[in-house]
């Protein structure tokens, strides 16, 4: 365990980042490159976590944690799997129309849990694949094949189909019932989805799709900050793991004289303000102890949890200021705000690490902890699971803070550039 108070910032971040990377080493199925959603036994693969894994290999190569050949091998393994996977859309296939089911059997790669064909999770997977293709640019047979596979995977995604007959992208599709009957409403993590979908030379979205989505945005003045509202932190982080939004603006942000990067900084400040107010009087919350996001938490169904008239939400997208809030915080969410608000994110990481060291094991963040549900020895409830999404966002945001590696790679990706321009982004590095 890191003694956080004794480490320099650099050492602290290096330790946490390396530990996050270790998740991907431990959770991967080496035969097909698929990565488990979480550390629990029999966890399926989450395609989004594969996207984070593909983005983590270049970081590991740069930092000397992994040989380039090994990274290429791992990447090729999973890219070949997806390329050759069953795209029939049947109930036990892997994907359809270039999209993939959210959860796959980590051994066979076929759909599990009757999960949906997920548009956003496919986008995160593709973003990771594109990251790999922008990094592994050597003129070797392996890296050439890697780039060709990524190109093929991206170009075959039928983004336009994912709109159905609606103005915006649908959230999912199932062979049993077709499109899930709701779409994206309000600001969320989907910018990278829209950018990839608009940038496609083969199956781009219809014009106006992005505008239809942004029409549902809410620009609010809350706790003294003007910001584009979304409650959970992951919304303000996921797209930013790949895309550098500093100084570039779409129509909405031009109107508001802001950008999405600055917006994420304000979102972190607002989380801090909420924790300082702590309206439900939960244990531990203060200006250096916050982090409300999607993640694991205690639930009313857990027999070991002594619940005092409180409703617990289990795995949920916790957010501020409207909740749900049951006293559960995510250490990784606070730290992943590092590029936007380094002072307060580092302060929170140190403070939370010192006060609640149980939330870290082997330097990896657990998915959530709840100090209001402390056991008799005053130790907080801690999620037994470590989730790939948490490890991935920590790894990537630390890297973007330290070297901007991922941002630099993706700034050079032509599909990202054209997608941003087609969604109306202008200015800055663009």
């Amino acid at each position: 365990m890191i003694e956080v108070c004794e480490l320099t910032d650099e050492a602290l971040l290096d330790g946490l980042q390396r530990a996050a990377f270790d998740y991907f080493l431990g959770a991967v199925n080496p035969t097909n490159g698929l990565v488990a959603d979480n550390s629990r036994e029999n966890s399926p693969c989450s395609i989004a976590v594969v996207g984070f894994a593909l983005s983590s290999y270049p970081v590991a190569v740069e930092r000397g944690w992994m040989a380039r050949a090994d990274a290429v091998k791992r990447s090729l393994s999973v890219l070949r799997f997806f390329h050759d996977s069953d795209q029939s859309g049947s109930a036990d296939a892997t994907g359809y129309k270039g999209f993939y089911y959210h959860f796959l059997d980590v051994h066979t790669g076929t759909r599990v849990w009757r999960s949906e064909l997920s548009m956003i999770d496919t986008a995160l997977l593709i973003a990771g694949a594109l990251t790999a293709s922008m990094y592994f640019i050597a003129n070797t047979p392996e890296e050439t094949e890697l780039r060709e596979l990524v190109e093929a995977l991206y170009l075959r995604v039928d983004w336009r189909w994912s709109q159905g007959e609606a103005a915006t992208i649908r959230q999912g599709w199932k062979p049993e019932c077709g499109f899930l009957h709701y779409g994206w409403d309000g600001y969320d993590e989907a910018i990278v989805l829209y950018v990839l979908a608009m940038g496609s030379p083969t199956h781009p979205l219809k014009d106006g799709c992005h505008e239809a989505w942004t029409a549902t945005y809410q620009w609010e003045n809350l706790y003294g900050y003007d910001f584009l509202y979304a409650g959970p932190l992951f919304v303000h982080q996921f797209s930013h793991a790949w895309i550098d939004f500093r100084g570039i603006q779409d129509h909405f942000m031009r109107e508001k004289r802001c950008d999405y990067f600055e917006n994420s900084r304000r979102a972190a400040q607002i989380q801090r303000e909420y924790a300082r107010r702590n309206p439900h009087e939960f244990v531990g919350y203060d200006e250096n102890c916050w982090g409300f996001t999607a993640g694991d938490g205690p639930s009313d169904e857990m027999p070991e949890v002594v619940n005092e008239r409180r409703h617990l939400f289990g795995y949920a997208a916790r957010g501020v200021p409207y909740g749900p809030d049951d006293g559960t915080l995510s250490g990784s969410a606070a730290l992943a705000s590092l590029p936007f608000a380094p002072e307060i994110a580092l302060c929170a990481a140190r403070n939370m690490g010192q006060r609640f060291p149980e939330m870290l094991s082997a330097n990896q963040y657990s998915s959530g902890f709840n100090a209001s549900l402390a056991s008799t020895d005053r130790r907080p409830w801690v999620s037994s699971g470590k989730f790939g999404l948490d490890q991935g966002i920590v790894l990537m945001m630390i890297e973007n803070y330290r070297t901007e590696l991922i941002w630099k790679l993706m700034r050079g990706c032509p599909y990202i550039g054209s997608g941003l321009r087609r969604t109306g982004f202008r200015g800055g590095w663009l």
């Binding site: 029409a215 509202y229 107010r277």
Partner: protein, 507 residues
């Protein structure tokens, strides 16, 4: 299935009910001899009809008011009045169960006496019925006719065998629940607002179909009375017209209350087995069956336009949207107007009231008042309440209006903290870089009262800048509005102004 409550036969005859019937449809009543011609004939004695009849008569018009069932309409008999009365009792039970939260002892034995709840409801309803009584109408000079109205010409109609001629008429026949077409539902029997207030026993298990205002209010009420309640809504959130944060807060409140929430879910079939109702539910590819003792539907309302022989009067109508009116509430027959649920999208008592006042002005006094000029607030009386007025953000953006919202969470309002009523927010939407209020949503324990201040400001053309100067009594929950205005004022302190102020204060 129970009979419609407003039909006199179904009403149980306790003292309160006797008083209500005596006020609203006396058994001994005999229709009067019609006048030669009326200035205004009003069809339907709900809120719109009552307001129009009283207002027109007070101004000297010769008025006839026709009602086929009970005066007061849905609002008094099977709507707002009875529902809000039992909402109050259900809140009290919820507060008793959470007494410790307020530093009080939880009563040792909290038992719901459903019969007593409903008796109080009938007592309150009977008392309020005095306002709508036939006695008051007669004293005001209104000729009241009971019976089915039927147009016979563009300027005449019949009721109970009598022919009434008019210079102007107003159709205010209201609306009725829209029965969802679920196979087996009618055979199994179900509740709507028309008969739910006749219940004498609390259903042990209740399924509410529909997540609109009625379904949400009554689901929470019956859950708090102790019914094991499930609510199925075929959309991603409750109250689909409201802002998603409001609907999300409501979903969380339902979960805390113990309501089983089924969103994105449709009821597809109902059958009866062993005396219980089995309802098949489908959510995308997930199928399940719930067993309940009663089903309550709240899936919209249809206008009452049948049986009026509107063709004879040259009045156009649609079975879904009701009597077709222009912005002056005039029908396709210039002599005939409409008001309230029979013609309006927003089916609220206060909208019926406002539209009836427009009709009286326009029909009798050459007025040119427009329906579109009204600023209409509304409120869903769940706990917390959800109130709205004006534009939603999305509507404003659709009109290419840049919007900024000033949000005050109720946990930042001292009185809400003191009251232990911190759930919710006040959001005031303004046109970007101005203080002009476009609309507002308030989610709070008493949001319905709080929204009135915003409505007043919008009608009077008062912006947030002025509202910031209005002294609000401290401590009140309505201070949230003032805090939103203060937040606006702070945004006017630009860096340039800050710098100037610093220089000014450098003495």
């Amino acid at each position: 299935m129970l009979q419609r409550n407003t039909s006199i036969a179904a009403v149980s005859q306790d003292a309160h009910e006797c008083e209500r019937l005596e006020n609203l449809h006396p058994s001994e009543w005999r229709n009067p001899q019609p006048a030669d011609r009326y200035n205004l004939v009003v069809i339907g004695a709900g809120p719109a009809g009552m307001v129009a009849a009283h207002a027109a008569a007070a101004l000297g018009a010769k008025v006839a008011l026709i009602e086929r069932e009970l005066l007061g309409g849905d609002c008094l008999n099977i709507g707002c009045v009875p529902s809000k009365t039992i909402v109050r009792t259900s809140r009290l039970y919820a507060e008793m169960r959470s007494a410790e939260h307020y530093g009080a002892q939880i009563p040792a034995d909290i038992r719901v006496d459903f019969a007593a709840v409903m008796q109080r409801m009938r007592r309150v309803r009977a008392r309020i019925s005095r306002v709508d009584s036939i006695e008051r109408l007669s004293a005001a000079g209104v000729d009241v006719f009971f019976g089915e109205a039927r147009f016979t010409a563009t300027d005449a109609l019949t009721v109970d065998g009598a022919r009434l001629r008019f210079r102007k008429a107003m159709i205010a026949t209201g609306a009725r629940p829209d029965t969802p077409s679920i196979p087996g539902l009618v055979e199994a029997g179900f509740l709507t607002n028309e008969n739910v207030f006749d219940l004498t026993e609390l259903p042990r298990r209740l399924l509410v179909i529909g997540g609109g205002p009625l379904g949400c209010e009554l689901a929470q009420v019956f859950c708090r009375f102790g019914a094991k309640t499930t609510i199925a809504q075929d959309m991603p959130l409750f109250l689909p017209k409201e802002e998603r944060d409001a609907a999300q807060i409501l979903s969380d409140a339902f979960a805390r209350d113990g309501i089983e929430v089924r969103l994105n879910t449709q009821a597809v079939r109902v059958r009866v087995e062993d005396g219980q109702k089995l309802v098949d539910l489908v959510s995308d590819d997930y199928k399940s069956t719930v067993a309940v003792d009663a089903i309550l539907t709240g899936t919209g309302r249809l206008p009452n336009v049948e049986g009026l022989n509107l063709e004879a009067a040259g009045v156009e109508c649609d079975a879904i949207t009701g009597v077709r009116v222009n912005d002056f509430l005039q029908t396709s027959n210039p002599r005939i107007y409409a008001a309230g649920d029979a013609c309006l999208e927003h089916k609220f008592t206060h909208t019926a009231d406002a539209s009836a006042r427009i009709v009286v002005q326009n029909a009798l006094f050459l007025g040119r008042q427009r329906l579109s000029a009204l600023t209409i607030p509304w409120c869903t009386y769940t706990d917390p309440e959800i109130a709205h007025v004006g534009l939603y953000v999305r509507q404003a953006r659709d009109q290419n209006i840049a919007v900024k919202t000033f949000t005050i969470p109720m946990h930042d309002v001292d009185r809400a903290i003191a009251d232990g009523e911190e759930t919710g927010f006040a959001k005031v939407h303004v046109k970007e870089r101005t203080d002009r209020i476009l609309g507002a949503t308030v989610v709070a324990s008493h949001a319905g009262d709080m929204i009135n201040e915003i409505t007043l400001a919008m009608v009077a053309g008062i912006g947030l800048r002025t509202l910031a100067r209005v002294i609000h009594a401290y401590p009140t929950q309505a201070e949230a509005i003032r805090q939103a205005a203060d937040a606006y004022s702070r945004t006017r302190l630009t860096p340039t102004i800050h710098s100037l102020l610093r220089r000014w204060l450098a003495w």
